[in-house]
């Protein structure tokens, strides 16, 4: 498992990718996904110094041995440990990145593309504003 500094490096790398994609439409929809994966690594970097250390390994087992998904457990930790604003910022990146990635799946209900659904301006605001709030909460510059 990666330590805090490795997660931080990966987070900054992902954020740089998001910055590049934001300014390169029509690929701005992928900036949201890069921004979300930056948020994941920023959180994991912060969590490493907490008792849980990693979302993946701190998941609670129920009596039959099954585990929650990492995404669901990480969201639970974020909601429990951070402010409502930080939770909303992270969750907005998460749900938006899911829409950006899965709109064109087979059997999907939408009849439009992700790069039409999100304008470049909205993608930029989604990434910059929400990553900014989330990093601020984690005391990451």
């Amino acid at each position: 498992m990666a330590n805090s500094s490795v997660h931080l490096s990966q987070a900054r790398h992902n954020e740089e990718v998001a910055d590049r994609l934001i300014s390169d439409p029509p690929y701005h929809d992928w900036a949201i996904t890069a921004g979300f994966y930056a948020a994941i690594h920023y959180f994991e970097s912060w969590l490493f110094n907490k008792p849980e250390q990693h979302s993946e390994t701190s998941r609670p087992k129920n009596p039959n041995g099954s585990l929650p998904s990492v995404h669901a457990w990480r969201l639970h930790l974020i909601q429990q440990k951070l402010t409502p604003e930080a939770f909303k910022s992270y969750e907005k990146l998460k749900v938006s990145s899911e829409n950006a990635r899965y709109l064109d799946f087979p059997n999907a209900l939408a009849n439009f593309t992700a790069f039409d659904y999100f304008t470049p301006t909205e993608a930029e605001k989604l990434v910059r504003k929400n990553l900014g709030v989330f990093k601020g909460e984690l005391n990451i510059q």
Binding site: S66, P68, S69, S96, L109, A110, F118
Partner: protein, 197 residues
């Protein structure tokens, strides 16, 4: 507190939309409920709760459908084929069946709150839920074609309140946009519709 059941919510959704495509498990529940033998139902419940294993899941399913009429058996088998496209091994199928029944018993109040809160939002077209691993997955289908930040803010506020009120329960929320589509079938065949406008 509103006292309702998971199936009640399904029935309400069905009444709102007669075209509602009931999921396999709901179909399975309907089949079970329509059977006259209470003793049989009790045996089924006991089996579900205590003795389904990866090894005997297929035998359990065969026993389960054995009292049904030919038509009901066919319906069940067709739906099961659909389900197995996604839950492709005995272990995941067992978890699905056990998990579903757990949702019915435990989460009716939560599902009611989800319907009441999200149903107030005009852009919410329908809501589907399913038990996945240890969490409740909630898909709130939106009748929009372009991202609406104000709308997502409102939905995330509702989501946060639900998470805060039921902090011991794990959730995943999804907000897929569907535009003006009236399409009712969902990408997860095991998900049940609990609200449809």
């Amino acid at each position: 507190m509103v006292n309702t059941t998971f199936l009640d919510l399904n029935e309400r959704a069905f009444l709102r939309n007669p075209q509602f495509d009931i999921s396999l498990i709901s179909e399975l529940e309907n089949l079970k409920i329509s059977e006259p033998s209470k003793e049989n139902t009790s045996i089924i419940k006991n089996t579900i709760e205590k003795s389904i294993s990866d090894e005997n899941i297929l035998n359990w399913l065969l026993n389960f459908i054995s009292p049904f009429s030919e038509d009901k058996t066919k319906t069940f088998v067709y739906k099961l084929q659909d389900l197995l496209r996604y839950y492709y091994n005995s272990s995941s199928l067992r978890s699905l069946i056990k998990g579903k029944y757990k949702v019915q018993g435990l989460e009716s109040e939560i599902l009611t709150k989800i319907v009441m809160d999200f149903g107030e939002v005009g852009e919410v077209q329908s809501i589907y839920v399913q038990k996945h691993l240890e969490e409740i997955q909630v898909s709130v289908l939106l009748s929009i074609e372009h991202y609406d930040d104000t709308l997502i803010d409102k939905l995330l506020d509702l989501e946060y309140d639900i998470r805060k009120a039921y902090s011991d329960v794990l959730f995943e929320f999804f907000y897929p946009p569907i535009g003006p589509s009236n399409k009712q079938d969902f990408i997860y065949p095991a998900a049940s519709c609990i609200y449809s406008r």
